[in-house]
């Protein structure tokens, strides 16, 4: 059974699901996807990208020079897409299970409530 992805890893893969991105683009996209809650720094980002590359989930796509700065783009591999889908499905099942319980809780509370 694959182990659950950590949140920054999940968000990086999710950001790349929209297409290849370079380092700063990834940081901005992860920030947007998490509503500003997860703000990656380059040292942390590249550490995670190295691990994802070694695991075969991400690969370098292309390079370009913009304003004299090197931009290397990364893209999701088929294995990365599979991992992202598996994690999304795992989370979806959790959300469904909890939502069902909360729905039941709401119904119980309604039944137990005495009209004023």
């Amino acid at each position: 059974m694959p182990q659950p992805l950590r949140e920054p890893t999940f968000l990086i893969l999710a950001a790349l699901a929209g297409g290849p991105l370079h380092g700063y683009g990834l940081i901005a996209e992860v920030d947007r996807l998490s509503d500003g809650r997860v703000s990656l720094r380059p040292g942390t980002l590249y550490g995670t990208l190295d691990r994802l590359t070694d695991d075969g989930h991400v690969t370098a796509d292309r390079e370009e020079i913009v304003d004299g700065r090197l931009r290397r783009y990364y893209r999701l591999t088929p294995d990365g897409e599979t991992a992202l889908r598996a994690e999304t499905e795992r989370m979806r099942r959790h959300v469904q299970a909890v939502a069902a319980r909360l729905h039941g809780l709401g119904t119980t509370a309604m039944i137990g409530r005495v009209p004023a």
């Binding site: 059974m1 940081i27 720094r41 040292g43 700065r69 931009r71």
Partner: protein, 337 residues
């Protein structure tokens, strides 16, 4: 500072990365930082920390020890929990006693200057619960600062008042635990956030209901017989750390997550420091410790030797063992391949 100067400042901060990695990825890393910089004129402290830690993680990865970085947040919470339990124990026993005599410094209701360290430790535990991440790391750094100040001031005279502090056999393990506790993560879950405070409360309750024979715990000088109450408290903290680390290794390991195993590996050196009194009677640590002669210092040297040995040998052994275990598990999971 111009764009080029800022780039140069960031390049200097890449020193922690291996040279080959710097050559391959340095421009890319600096480019990302420059794009984030806006009108910033120089790197921030957080940028320096990020790049230095990133470089260290890369070096660990190069020698197959990337797991150490993954296990650190768990180890940090457990180390802080052990230190919090000890802080409460010492505050409610030695520090609450009335052993100080005329001419010796008392700190408020407490018997020695060492109480400052324990209060600082408990403040860090509270910070971990309410503000994990940078504020907690700052609080832990403050605790380390108080440890160093107390160490320097111990046995000194300040304005005709003698200052009693903490003995080396308590300072060194606490320093080991605090250095690991510095790695507190910002996004650790509630369990890890509340662990230090919970262990402090549990220890206080245990002492209050009579779990510890407080009357036998008079002062720190009851070193260095391992069966005395103070050494027993250190031993209990060591056992607690080992048990909690093993529980984390087993619980996470069942899901194929090896962070708990790495955390346990990180915790073994401070465990050695905590049980240095027992190690002082064992070879080869007894021989190493006996070089310095003095009883309490020889005990600390014995503990530090064992800590240094396990800090190197265990992670290296684990890094060689894990690939074999993983390969075996894959074969077991998929016997056809």
């Amino acid at each position: 500072m111009s764009d080029q100067q800022l780039a140069l400042a960031y390049r200097k901060l890449l020193f922690a990365y291996p040279a080959r990695y710097r050559a391959e990825r340095g421009d890319e890393l600096i480019g990302a930082y420059l794009e984030m910089a806006g009108d910033r004129r120089r790197p921030r402290l957080a940028d320096a920390t990020d790049l230095i830690l990133g470089g260290l993680r890369r070096r660990l990865r190069n020698v197959g020890l990337a797991g150490l970085a993954d296990g650190l947040p768990i180890a940090a919470a457990l180390a802080m929990a052990a230190g919090s339990a000890l802080a409460v124990f010492f505050l409610l026993t030695v520090e609450s006693g009335k052993v100080s005599t005329v001419g010796w410094l008392r700190v408020g209701p407490f018997a020695t200057l060492g109480s400052v360290v324990f209060v600082a430790w408990l403040l860090a535990a509270v910070t971990a619960a309410v503000a994990p991440g940078a504020p907690t790391r700052l609080a832990v750094a403050g605790t380390i600062g108080t440890l160093l100040v107390v160490t320097v001031l111990s046995k000194q005279s300040l304005a005709m008042v003698r200052v009693d502090g903490l003995p080396a056999y308590i300072i060194v393990p606490l320093l080991g635990l605090a250095l690991i506790a510095l790695a507190q993560a910002r996004d650790s879950g509630w369990l890890l956030r509340l662990l230090p405070l919970s262990s402090a409360i549990a220890t206080a309750v245990w002492i209050m209901v009579g779990g510890a024979d407080v009357s036998r715990v008079a002062q720190y000088e009851s070193c260095c017989v391992a069966s005395e109450p103070l050494p027993m408290a250190l031993t209990a903290a060591a056992l607690g750390l080992l048990l909690a680390g093993t529980a984390a290794a087993v619980a996470l390991g069942r899901r194929g997550d090896q962070r708990g195993l790495w955390a346990l590996t990180i915790l073994v050196p401070p465990v050695m420091l905590l049980v240095s009194m027992w190690l002082d009677g064992l070879e080869p640590f007894r021989s190493v410790g006996s070089f310095v002669g003095s009883n309490d210092i020889s005990i600390v040297v014995a503990g530090m030797s064992a800590a240094a040995l396990t800090a190197v040998a265990l992670p290296l052994s684990l890094s060689r063992l894990l690939p074999l275990l993983n390969r075996r598990r894959e074969t077991f999971d998929d016997p056809v391949s």
